[in-house]
Each structure stands twice: as structure tokens, then as C-alpha cells.
Assembly symmetry: C2
Homo-oligomer: 326 residues x 2
């Protein structure tokens, strides 16, 4: 059993709290994608739910706990998906939700946060500035701050994906996981290492936002001065020490991919799987594209973790005419 | 209990035979889509599986029965989705699968049928000619012909979607179902009328392929000379009498929609739900668009029944730049 902050019994219990609309998501082999990549590829699809990302699993736990303890308000920083999910989960439990985001965040995500009834505050800086501002709001207002990847519920929610992957005998060799703050990677990784330690857990991060990967490689927190990636959902600069500690226990590798590979990955998911995904959700395919030999003949699961995009930008990325039809 | 060829006990038993990858598909409220349409819209998503349509539910039953009885070969006519699904289900059970299709069928569907190892025979005519040719192959070769919507397994497979809709207390008022041969409508309709008779079952067909809808309205089989629609999955001309009889028992209405509405529906599913769907899967949204008053304030479920498109055609339909991002 890996020694992390996570606990299997708590992760199992989480399934009883999370709205079923976020659970038991599709997991299926996508042969056209595999044929194009030279390996077997299965998709774990986390976009077919009311917030189009996996984040609802964690926010259901957070909001449920807050409601149970009588708290009325909660604030988080978000690149957009956590904020949407917290707004959704909080609304259903009468919580007053504030989301702090960068004003450069994906417009579609910000629109949805507002539409879900949350108070949205924009900062004139990046996600790390949003984190600082959210912490400030929490301190001043005496309200609960939700910190993605640090708060154990966000990791436990993500970890329920892991339970679904190991349900039955896993037939796959490798799981590719988008790496940002680390909740998804540590959550899913913990369950895999507990139940299927032979499965390789590979985290994938953009070269333009490499802080956590560099930290994992150096086994100490490494921060960066800036980020430069279209993968807005994973663009952090300051890894959280406790999350890094967990990641060191469960990740077999952490790789960095180029922006062009992320775009190519998004295009392949559209062409071969019919899926519109946000850049973070294409990191796994990008990793295969950058190292086909490593994955040749293997069975790889990629977690399609989010599908919230500005369609204008999406069309620019994937191209209006991808050239062929199948 | 509606008096059709279907039987609830058999439909329940079907769940034990169908590969779980086709079952318990996502069902979720899509608020952005509802906001754009003036009603509550829930999506039942049948595209996140290895063949990207609901047809696998039925072909699993067909192929399982054939394998159990020792048959080795099977033939079907298909616009593309049934053929893909039968190829998938047959391959897993060692069956020799032949699919007959129009040479004007969607290229992506034909490519997938071949890739799944089925023998593909193209006819120089429409789907009705493919049906004749498939029947001919079956007769001459003494092999089993699978007739979509006539063969009860195809209806029972579709009906398992109905079970998933009525699981728990249905909160919706109306279900919109694409109408082609009728398996989906009679299958889902039977279960709804059995368990939730107050839910309105509305079938939707293109104006350019109206044979079954006209038949339902006139309560007798009405054929047409030709079809003219991009919704290839539902473009039949010769309704099957036994299927019409069932449809008369379970459908509350059957409506016809224009091509422009189908395209607008596809565009809305992309913009507001992030879903790439084939034209047949947009029929429900098209019906709402053509009669907003009828659905205003109601809770509607639309079954997104397939997602196999030629991307070139898809981009022409929905437009490269849909104009706004959310």
C-alpha cells in the first residue's frame, strides 16, 4: 500500500457521497485512436457530465462536508474547472460559492461559473495570483478555502476514477494522467499502486508549465517564474509540498510534452474518437506522440479529464479542415 | 403494459448478455443547452463506446444468440452503425460478418466496418437496395439475416436504454427519439410506457425521409420513392409493418424536421454540450428548435444515438467558426 495522504477506505466511502452523475464514467477501447498511435488506447471519459470535467467528484465531497458541518460559504481559486464544479456542488447544497480566477482564463469556463450562480472574482494575473487572492478572501471573511490538490477531498474525489479503472482485472499496462496541481495524479496513482502496482503510472505536463514535473524529478519543490501553455487546466507554478510527497510515492514517471503535441493530441481525439477535449485532456495522447516506441504494442489508458474549451480557439488549434474523414 | 412484440423480462435479461461497455451510458442535465432552448435538456449519451452508437446493445444480443446456437455467419444491411456494431459483436464471438451498405454511405462508417474485420459489400443504390441485397445473400448462402427493427433483439437492445431512463424516478416530461426503422423508438417507448406512461414519447424524423412518420400518422404502411436527408442513419423508405404496429402502441407523437434544423441541432450540441454527433443524433434538438413553445419549461431527454461522421462534412455542416465560444 503506497504511503500517501490518501486512504482506500475513505476513497470507497467517497463513492457514496458523490452524485452518481459523476461516477462510473465510460471506459472503452478506441481502436481507431490506437491504430493511429501504434498501441492499444482506452479512453476514460470524464467530460460527459454537467460540468464537463472530473472535478465534480472532488467538489461533491467538499460541498457535502461543508453542508454537514453547517458552513455557508466557500471560496476557491480555479483555472475554471474546479470553480465550475464547486459552483455546481455548492448550489445543490445552498452554499455561497466564490471563485477567483485569472482574467485570462478560458471564457467558456468563466461563463459557466457565473451561470451556475457563483460569485466570480477575476485577478489581473495568473493562477498563482488567483490562489493568493482566494486565500486572502478566506482569511478576511472567515470562510472555507478549498485548495485543489492540497485538500484531501479533491484527491479522494479524483481517486474514485482509480477505483473504476481497477474494477475487474485491469487489462492495461499504463495510465497516462494529466499533471497540474497533482490531485488527479496522486488520487488515481494511489489506487493503482494499491490494487494494480504493475500498472505504470505516467504523469504528463506541458513543457510550458513544468514545475511539478521538475519537482518530481528533483524530489524537492521547484517553482517557475511563469507558464506558457494552452493547457490552462494544468498551468501552475508553485507545487504544494505535501502533494509532491504523495506524487513521489505513486508516479512511475513524469514527462513533459510540447505544445504542438498537445494540439496534435486534441486533433487526434477529434478525428479518431469524435471527442472535443480541452488541451489538458490531450496530454496523454501528446505523450504517446512524442515517444511512440515507448508505448508500441502496449495497452494505455488515457484519462480525458476535461472538455471545456472556447470553440473559437479550439477550431484554430485543431484546424477547420482536418483533411480526412475517419 | 403496452401490447408490442417486446417483453420487459426479456429486456431485463438482455442486460446480462450485453457487454457492459454499452450499458449504463451517461445521462445528465446539460444546462447550457437547456438555456439556449428554453427548456431543461438532459442528454442520454450513446456515443462513448467502441462503435460510437447505441447499436452495440442490439448486436450483442444477436451475436450472442448466434454463437450459442452454433451459427458461424451473419449478414445485415446497414447505413453504417448497425454494420459496425455487428462487426464488433461478431468478431468477439468468432462470427463471419457480412455487411451490405450503400456506396453513398458515410465513409467513416464504411472504414470502421472494414477495420473491424467484416466483409463489406456496397450496392449502387440506397439503403433499401442494401436491404434487398442482404436478404439475397442470406437466402443464397443459408446464413442468418439480421434485420434492424424487425429482429426483436435489435429492439430489445435499444430498449435497455429505456430501462436506464426509468431507473430511479424519472424527472423528465418528454423523451425525443430519432426515428428510422423504429427499433430505438419502439424499444425505448415500450419501457417508458410500461414504467412511466406519463412521459411523452416523441419520435423525430427528417422531412426528407418521412416514411415511418407518415405511416404512424395514417396508421398504415406508407412508403416513399426516395429520401433526401443528411441524417443517413434514419433514411429508410419502406417501414416494416410489425414495427409500425409496435410504434402505434408506444409513440405519443411523431414529428418531421427540416434539414436546416438538424444542422442547427448539431451545431448546438457542439457549442453548448461539446458533443460531436451525427445528424440522426441531432433530431431531438431539431424538434425543439422547430417548436420551442411546445417544449418551453419542460424537461426533455434527447437520446444522442450516434457520433459517426465524416469530419469534412461535419465541418461544412456546423461551420468552421461557430462565432462565439461558450
Amino acid at each position: 500500500m503506497p504511503q500517501t495522504r490518501l486512504d482506500i477506505a475513505r476513497i470507497r466511502a467517497a463513492r457514496q457521497v458523490i452524485d452518481p452523475v459523476f461516477l462510473d464514467t465510460p471506459l472503452y477501447r478506441c481502436e481507431p485512436l490506437g491504430a493511429a498511435l501504434g498501441c492499444a488506447v482506452s479512453v476514460k471519459l470524464e467530460t460527459a457530465n454537467p460540468v464537463r470535467s472530473f472535478k465534480g467528484r472532488g467538489t461533491e465531497l467538499v460541498a457535502s462536508l461543508l453542508a454537514d458541518t453547517g458552513e455557508r460559504a466557500v471560496v476557491c481559486a480555479s483555472a475554471g474547472n474546479l470553480g465550475q464544479a464547486l459552483a455546481w456542488s455548492g448550489r445543490g447544497r445552498g452554499l455561497d460559492v466564490t471563485v477567483v480566477a485569472s482574467r485570462f482564463a478560458t471564457v467558456a469556463k468563466l461563463d459557466r461559473i457565473r451561470a451556475l450562480g457563483a460569485r466570480l472574482e477575476l485577478v489581473d494575473g495568473d493562477h498563482e495570483m488567483a490562489r493568493e487572492r482566494a486565500a486572502d478572501i478566506a482569511r478576511r471573511g472567515g470562510i472555507r478555502l478549498v485548495e485543489d490538490s492540497l485538500d484531501i477531498e479533491t484527491c479522494e474525489g479524483a481517486a474514485t476514477i482509480g477505483l473504476e479503472l481497477v474494477d475487474g482485472a485491469p487489462s492495461f499496462d499504463t495510465v497516462l494522467i494529466a499533471l497540474g496541481g497533482g490531485a488527479l495524479a496522486t488520487g488515481v496513482g494511489h489506487v493503482l499502486k494499491a490494487y494494480a502496482p504493475e500498472v505504470e503510472v505516467i504523469c504528463v505536463q506541458p513543457l510550458g508549465a513544468p514545475a511539478m514535473t521538475r519537482s518530481w524529478r528533483q524530489r524537492r519543490v521547484v517553482t517557475t517564474e511563469s507558464t506558457d501553455t494552452i493547457a490552462d487546466g494544468v498551468a501552475g507554478r508553485r507545487p504544494i509540498p505535501a502533494v509532491l510527497d504523495d506524487l513521489l510515492q505513486v508516479a512511475d514517471d513524469a514527462v513533459l510534452v510540447q505544445e504542438a503535441s498537445i494540439v496534435a493530441g486534441m486533433r487526434m481525439l477529434l478525428e479518431h474518437a469524435g471527442l472535443v477535449v480541452e488541451p489538458s485532456a490531450a496530454l496523454g495522447i501528446a505523450a504517446i506522440l512524442e515517444d511512440r516506441d515507448r508505448f508500441a504494442g502496449r495497452h494505455v489508458v488515457t484519462i480525458v479529464c476535461g472538455g471545456n474549451v472556447d470553440l473559437g480557439a479550439y477550431h484554430r488549434w485543431v484546424g477547420a479542415d482536418p483533411g480526412h474523414g475517419s
